[in-house]
């Protein structure tokens, strides 16, 4: 899932304070699971904005709504006319949702209510951890299912640097050393010798460094076209 965190309220207020009709627009998928931008969070944020507007003596109409997914048009297309009655949309969807809505909404601004952070998992309620960097060139079969790109602070490909300390990364005692985990996992799998081979230089062009990426499935595209 995509993990995000709500922006500080003051930052949000600075973005929207000059607008009079505000829609706080949540997404009930990934960002709802991480309690950052689902319908519930959008509703709470809308209340906070209303109170702030009253405090500041500003006449502001603040509505809230949420849909299942901001990343596919069919979910928000039915309510697009309603959305367009506002001066600004404060989206609490991930950055994908903000971009996608901005492309379709015409001349109404769409602002981000959350900072979109990473692809992550939820090992325990309230804890979200980054496990994949979406680099477009997966090598998890070589590293015991633990990603050195996402989980080593230096994205090293050939083992831990000298900064690993009792299984922790040099950047923080709160961060596991990804390569320590990989070595331990490969030992368990009886496949440590796989890590004796030198891994070649990465092709980073499949990651975001190669420019914006797209995937086209010709067979599906054709069927839809018909």
């Amino acid at each position: 899932m995509i993990v995000g965190e709500q922006k500080p309220f003051e930052e949000i207020w600075e973005m929207i304070k000059s607008f009079r009709k505000v829609l706080v627009f949540g997404c009930n998928t990934c960002v709802a699971i991480c309690h950052a931008g689902g319908g519930k969070e959008a509703e709470i944020l809308a209340s906070l904005i209303r109170m702030k507007a009253i405090q500041e003596g500003i006449g502001m109409e603040v509505k809230h709504a949420a849909i299942e997914r901001h990343c596919e048009p069919e979910f928000f297309d039915p309510m697009m006319e309603d959305i367009k009655t506002n001066d600004v949309v404060l989206s609490t969807a991930c950055g994908v949702g903000v971009n996608f809505l901005a492309e379709r909404i015409g001349d109404i601004p769409v602002f981000p209510g959350i900072n979109t952070q990473f692809f992550g998992a939820v090992p325990k309620a309230g804890i979200f951890v980054e496990l994949c960097a979406g680099c477009g060139n997966c090598i998890l079969h070589l590293t015991g299912g633990i990603c050195p790109i996402a989980r080593c602070a230096k994205s090293l490909m050939n083992g831990p640097c000298g900064g690993t300390n009792k299984g922790k990364c040099e950047i923080s005692q709160d961060v596991d050393c990804g390569w320590y985990l990989i070595v331990e996992r490969m030992k368990k799998l009886g496949a440590l010798e796989k890590l004796y081979e030198i891994q070649p230089l990465r092709n980073w062009s499949t990651a975001t460094y190669g420019g914006p990426r797209r995937v086209v499935l010709e067979h599906i595209k054709d069927i839809e076209g018909q």
Binding site: A153, K154, S155, L156, M157, N158, G159, P160, C161, G162, G163, T164, N165, K166, G167, E170, I171, S172, C177, Y180, V183, E184, K187, L192, L195, Y196, I198, Q199, P200, L201, R202, W204
Partner: protein, 305 residues
Amino acid sequence: MKSGSNLEKVLESGHFAVTAEVGPPKGASAKVVQRKGELLKTYCDAMNVTDNQTAIVRMSSCSGCILLREIGIDPVMQIVVRDRNRIAIQSDILGAVALGIRNILCLSGDHQRFGNHPTTKGVYDIDSIQLVQTLKKMRDEKKFICGEDISGEVPLYIGAVETPFADPIEYRVKRLAKKVKAGADFIQTQAVFDVAKFIKWMEIVRDEGLDKQVHILAGVIPIKSVGMARYMKDNVSGISVPDEIVTRMEEAKVAKDEGVKIALEIIEQLKEMNSIHGIHIMAVAWEDIVPVIVERAGLLPRPVL
């Protein structure tokens, strides 16, 4: 000869090498580098110039190396993969060689979060082992990473580092083997304080036959104070400082003298190890102690080859 550098000559002719480290200034003064160079010139075979160590911006390693070379010192240019992508690295290598730099030491580099620009973007396009491979390819095949030809020779003596006591211990020697396989000519280790533990590590290195394929220089850090001993023991990953050393520093009348004494005892034991071909002295902000240590360790005069 692969590069003809003084360090290569010293190591290949079987001498016990001595190298030292120069931290470049947080400024543009050539004099700072020259002064350190003049101070240590006759006491070591080559001098490393660090590359924005601990991710703190300083004068570039390449420039420091050129300043040292101008006063007759064989420099070792450090390159960390934190700040440059493969285009910049290969370009810098060509420039460094053109300016007479022959020894290159390949490192990952301390993470940018440590330094004075913690909000920067780290590069990490290639890792330190791939950097060693890249230099070997440039030198031996006269080719860039992409396979295109380089015009002319790229004489290099390739170094890498290893931290013997970092986790996971059982994988460390294998990782060293990767560096050797990638093309390292010499290895500098993290500072050694626990010689007994280091000897055990070197036994594994010997079992793998690595000491016959690469020149290993053991790292030596003279301890200036008991605070420094404690700090390294508790905070520096991959450094193992035995309690005995901390106690000796605590009980010493003059801490600096005890620190020198400890360094000399460690060097004495390292000299007796056949598989260790030299030492690399990292006297961080205490460069003027290096001549004293080298002299008292009986490592003078340095060979003229």
